[in-house]
């Protein structure tokens, strides 16, 4: 028998023909999209630009960007649009805060052993999930038809602390109420899933230390439920940011309402839709990045090593790029 000897052998990867064909199709599609985004077309009115040189009159058609990028640039940072952006963000934040706080309360109620707490929580979710949020917005906008006054006091005893006409329900308040209350129904299901995902042993350990039910929930269960709650909540925030555009239909001048107002005056509909899209995309992108880092924060303790940040991942990819795998094998 000869002695074992080590040698390095190059590994030849399998050729994936299908992947190459697929990649080619995708590349062509990308080229088509880029081309149409940045192509120019003759002005639709058919107006020509005519120049007279040396007694000869020469006319050329006028070309403009198909997507009218110069108009987009003109309105992208206009004050009307920026005000709309700010209102969109405000609506998103306030509606989400209402949704999350109320949602957690409803989730805890649903998990209660007390049926008088659990049943109303179920009915709430049933109602707000079962009707379209667009319709709910109109309901709150028109609440003044049902109730003339909004009063805070002791029920049935004619004791009043505060009372105001329901005329104060403007579009913005209707939007906050409608979006927030609707969101609470969805958030309660997300929070409930998170809470029941935490092992029962954690509750028992907290209880055996002498913690009250509230302390157990606040200090032990919810922080661990967050790992399950955060990813879908991030989706909800992004979804909420876009859903605020429905409020344009109840006279709220958020981003979409603002661009609608502008195109109602100048008929430059399409470039203004592009303006709105660019802003929505920018805001959702920033939120997605934030979501990644929040998820990473709440994953602590659950994983032995935290997930890599995009920067770390890129560095690792660059390090291994181009390096072919080499296997060392024993030959005898």
């Amino acid at each position: 028998m000869s002695k074992d000897q080590q040698s390095e052998v190059e590994v030849v990867p399998v050729r994936h023909v299908g992947q190459w064909v697929g990649a080619a199709v995708v590349l062509i599609a990308i080229a088509m999209v880029v081309h149409t985004l940045f192509s120019k077309v003759p002005l639709q009115s058919g107006l020509n630009k005519c120049v007279t040189t040396a007694g000869k009159r020469v006319c050329h058609p006028i070309f403009i960007w198909r997507f009218q990028w110069n108009t987009v640039g003109q309105y992208l940072f206009s004050s009307e649009v920026l005000h709309g952006v700010i209102l969109t963000l405000q609506l998103t934040v306030v509606a989400m805060v209402i949704g999350i706080v109320l949602g957690v309360i409803i989730a805890v109620m649903r998990l209660s052993n007390n049926r008088l707490l659990a049943a109303p929580a179920w009915v709430y979710t049933w109602f707000f999930r079962g009707t379209p949020v667009y319709v709910q917005l109109f309901f709150w906008f028109n609440i003044g038809l049902l109730y003339k006054r909004f009063t805070l006091g002791v029920p049935f005893l004619h004791v009043t602390f505060f009372s105001t006409s329901t005329n104060v329900i403007t579009g913005v308040w209707a939007a906050i109420l409608g979006l927030g209350l609707n969101e609470a129904a969805y958030m309660s299901e997300i929070a409930r899933a998170g809470i029941i995902s935490v092992d029962e042993g954690q509750t028992e350990a907290a209880t055996s230390l002498g913690m009250t039910k509230g302390q157990t929930l606040r200090l032990v269960v919810l922080p661990q439920a967050m790992r399950v709650i955060i990813p879908p909540t991030g989706n909800e925030v992004i979804s909420m940011l876009k859903t605020t555009s429905l409020a344009a239909s109840i006279a709220v001048i958020e981003l979409f309402g603002a661009v609608q107002n502008i195109w109602a005056n100048n008929f430059k509909t399409l470039p203004l839709i592009v303006v709105a899209c660019l802003w929505y995309l920018f805001m959702t992108t920033v939120m997605s990045i934030g979501q990644f880092y929040i998820e990473r924060h709440f994953a602590r303790g659950a994983l032995r090593s935290p997930p890599m940040t995009p920067v770390q991942r890129l560095r690792k990819d660059l390090r291994t790029l181009g390096g072919r795998t080499r296997l060392t094998r024993m030959t005898s």
Partner: protein, 253 residues
């Protein structure tokens, strides 16, 4: 010696299934009692009744002379409020089969959270006593690790330290070594042995007959919801009288 735990005819059923059918036992202060018995015999349930994690149906259960979960006044039993029950639980440490360390907190935070939030101890005092306890269980180097980064044996030692951080007068162990790899059992039993030597009153549900023989003052054999036999380890383990204990011992020894 004064009595730490006293049970008289304690019963408990889950639905229609009786689990405890009249348990009588007495644990004196400073005593180490091992509860042995086949699975489903009610050992864990009885242990959980002592700190009111489970509510017993009938019978009398006293810890340090006080009824668990009730207050006797004018010949009536008044249920205690949640707050009173919590306050009593804080004096009873419990160690679980599956450790149940708080996964989102570091080892040190696991040890200080109860002191700070339940007993209102200031942070630096809590940290100081937590570090002493970690040194005592041999894990002072692991204070900033998360539980998932520790071995099972290390996690269980942290869990014991977490319970001790509340300065309990009674420690309950619910099969503390059953979820461990065999080579990790020893390190946990060592910590428990030291604890017994320090004079802690302990009730230990266990299948470790060697530990029971060496450390326990009393061994109780629980079968089908009643204490079938009890006495010194050498009596119960070395000289079983009932057939059921004999057949149980022949399976585990």
């Amino acid at each position: 010696m004064s009595t730490m735990v006293e049970a008289r005819g304690v019963t408990k059923a889950y639905g229609h299934v009786p689990v405890l059918r009249g348990v009588d036992l007495v644990v004196a202060q400073g005593e180490v009692m091992c509860l042995i018995g086949p699975s489903g015999s009610g050992k864990s349930t009885f242990l959980r009744c002592i700190n009111h994690l489970e509510k017993h149906d009938a019978g009398e259960l006293r810890v340090e002379g006080e009824l668990v979960g009730y207050r006797l006044q004018n010949g009536k039993l008044y249920e205690q409020s949640d707050k009173q029950i919590c306050a009593e639980r804080a004096n009873i440490g419990m160690v679980f089969q599956r450790f149940n360390l708080f996964q989102h907190l570091t080892v040190l935070d696991n040890l200080i959270i109860g002191q700070m939030k339940v007993k209102g101890v200031k942070e630096d005092a809590a940290v100081k006593s937590a570090r002493e306890l970690l040194a005592r269980v041999g894990l002072d180097a692991k204070e900033s690790n998360y539980p998932a980064q520790l071995s099972g044996g290390q996690q269980q030692r942290v869990a014991i330290a977490r319970a001790l951080a509340m300065e309990p007068r009674l420690m309950l162990f619910d099969e503390p070594t059953s979820a461990l790899d065999p080579e990790l059992v020893g390190e946990v039993l060592d910590v428990m042995r030291d604890l017994a030597k320090s004079g802690m009153t302990m009730i230990v549900v266990t299948h470790e007959m060697g530990f029971a023989r060496e450390v326990a003052n009393t061994v109780c054999f629980l079968d089908q919801g009643v204490i079938e036999e009890s006495g010194t380890p050498s009596d119960v383990l070395g000289n079983p009288r009932s057939d059921r204990l004999r057949s149980f011992l022949s399976k585990v020894l």
